[in-house]
Amino acid sequence: MDIIYLDNNATTRIAPEVYEAMIPFFTDDYFNPSSMYEPARRTGQAVEAARRTIADCLGGTAPGEILFTGCATESNNTAIRGAARANPNRRHIITTTVEHPAVLEVCREMERSGHPVAYVGVDRDGQIDLPGFIRALTPETLLVSIMHANNETGLVFPIERLSRIVKETDPGILFHTDATQTVGKLPIDMVRGLPYVDLLSFSGHKLHAPKGIGALYLRRGTRCRPFLLGGHQESGRRGGTENVPYIVGLGRALGLATETAHEDEARIGRLRDRLERGLVERIPSVEVNGGGGVRLPNTLNISFHYIEGEGMLFQLSEYGICASSGSACTSGSLEPSHVLRAMKVPFTAVHGSVRFSLSRYTTEAEIDRVLEVFPGIVANLRTLSPYWDNARNAPRPDAVGMIESH
């Protein structure tokens, strides 16, 4: 059975071009870039070439502002903990309630070690509470960490504006953004677009590079202590022998994404809209989460009321279709998506949410296949649901109130 992969916000397939570019560094050019002999110089040059490519793709920053890490989680840890340790005169941190755990959990840990943290909320459309954000800024504020786009809903925060407000308020406050879901998907320009952002995290495996490689953009002059000590690599800012093949892969992947970004973005956006429209037209009692805001073109988070997400994913997988859900039963814990809950999406809709995330490899035929099978999957589960009236193909009258009552 062919796989229809629509879970690209979780991870992506490695682009063939990326894989090609990496191979020599597993086989012939395996040398440690720190070694003195000539062959090692070539691996060192490959690392620096990748760094330059990435710097170019981020709007022509200085290559020295790019730091390679093991993953976006490491980049986030470095940014938040490193900024706190380098600036001990301030303690207060601001973030949002909808961050990825790679930021949220670090902030909670900072809280336990005596850093007060303000968690700014979002509204029903997932838009940030701007007055609340401004209120949260204090003279004690050390760092603001706000994601660029949300992994679950695809909603894009106005990072350009938020970082400008922060710097106009107090240039001493550092601004970090977790851009894991946007690098390679949206144009990122650290020079003209995001001049007020000091730190920006991302990883390779969301943009068709392999897992196990991440990067941190660290604006020149930003005070930040290393997270991994133990070597002079990355100018002493991240110890550990450079993961040469993966660094080369990340450089190639971001170069590739940037070359085709414009065209991909438009095509993927059309496919996503086709999927969204098709599902909304074919299935009653659905709701697009975050549909009212600016979203990544590849992401659709959609809720099917009165049924539970895991049963949908399970049936989808029988057709070889891969997607994910914010339901409690798929989270590994019993808690449904903290992002949808923060948006006050009703429980009925959170448990019945499905996220489709597309990539440049998604085809129209794949989308049409989903549209063909999905209405049946939903109908199957609604037949079993205590909240659904099959005769009318509508929710039971007593169940309607549940949508808004929680």
Binding site: R91, H92, R108, E111, R112, G114, P116, V117, A118, L130, P131, I134, R135, L137, T138, P139, E140, R161, I165, E168, T169, Y306, I307, E308, G309, E310, G311, F314, Q315, S317, E318, S327, A328, C329, T330, G332, S333, L334, E335, P336, F347, T348, H351, I377, N380, L381, T383, L384, S385, P386, Y387, A399, M402, H406
Partner: protein
Amino acid sequence: MGWEYSEKTKQLFMDAVHGKPGTHLGEIENPDGLGEHGSIACGDAMRFTFRVRRHPSDPTLDVITEARYLTFGCTSAIAASEALCDIIEKGEYTPISALQIQNSDIVTYLEGLPEQKIHCSVMGAEALEAAVFNWAQRRGVDLKALGIDLHDQETEEGRVVCKCFSLTEPYILRKIKELNLRTIPQITSAIKAGGACGSCHHVPGGLQDLLDRVWQGKLPAAAGSAAGSPLPLVSIDAPAPADFSPYQFSKKVEKVVDEYIRPSLKMDGGDVEIVDIKGTMVYCRLKGACANCAGAAQTLKMMVERILKEQVDERIRVIEV
């Protein structure tokens, strides 16, 4: 995480969603017993109904002939519902003898369930109990007189321990004993308690205390022994200029905005909203026609800031939001 379900669980789920003959989805009209458990907020809920072949003289000898369910929940919740109905229909149970069916029987029938899905089988057993209670009421059977102590939900009202899933102390205590739960993860797997925010794990009167009470007879742990609570947010606002209180200062800013700035913006079909004032920083947003104007930021800086500097305080800075 992936699906670690047995083949039996997967098969039952697929049969159920495709409505294969022999499956039990649906609801019996005018049932002899009806029981519900769970809620849509918690992520799974079941409505269970059964019909009996009535004994002409002794209702306790009624035999369950048909069982049906409607379930909102995941793959294993639906498979567990199927399992329960099949066990009951095949076993020629009386409602009272059906009470012997435990969640572990459902797990066995399903050829195992992942640990974190055990609560699905517990839901089945709970819905069955509730249905038997309902049958007893309808048929005038005094369960207590028969030595059966059924805990319908009303009798288990009490202090809510797990707020996320609305589970009370009497209910959790009973389940700890019935299901022989020894650790907090076991409690969470079986009845969900403590599975979401986790704040009831180690607080006084929380899950660990209930476990201690059941298994060791210990007194509740002293307050303050729990993991450290987060520090309160220190909010230090920038000082307002010394000659005004912050309130007077913001009143003055608003007055100047109303008198000098709004009228001219309104002539162009626009307006300005003050979002916040911190110290001498005035956060504002242009509205109406001005909001989409390319020169909005310039307008704010040049005009609003200049006027406020002249009229209120020369240290004022305007920040567009």
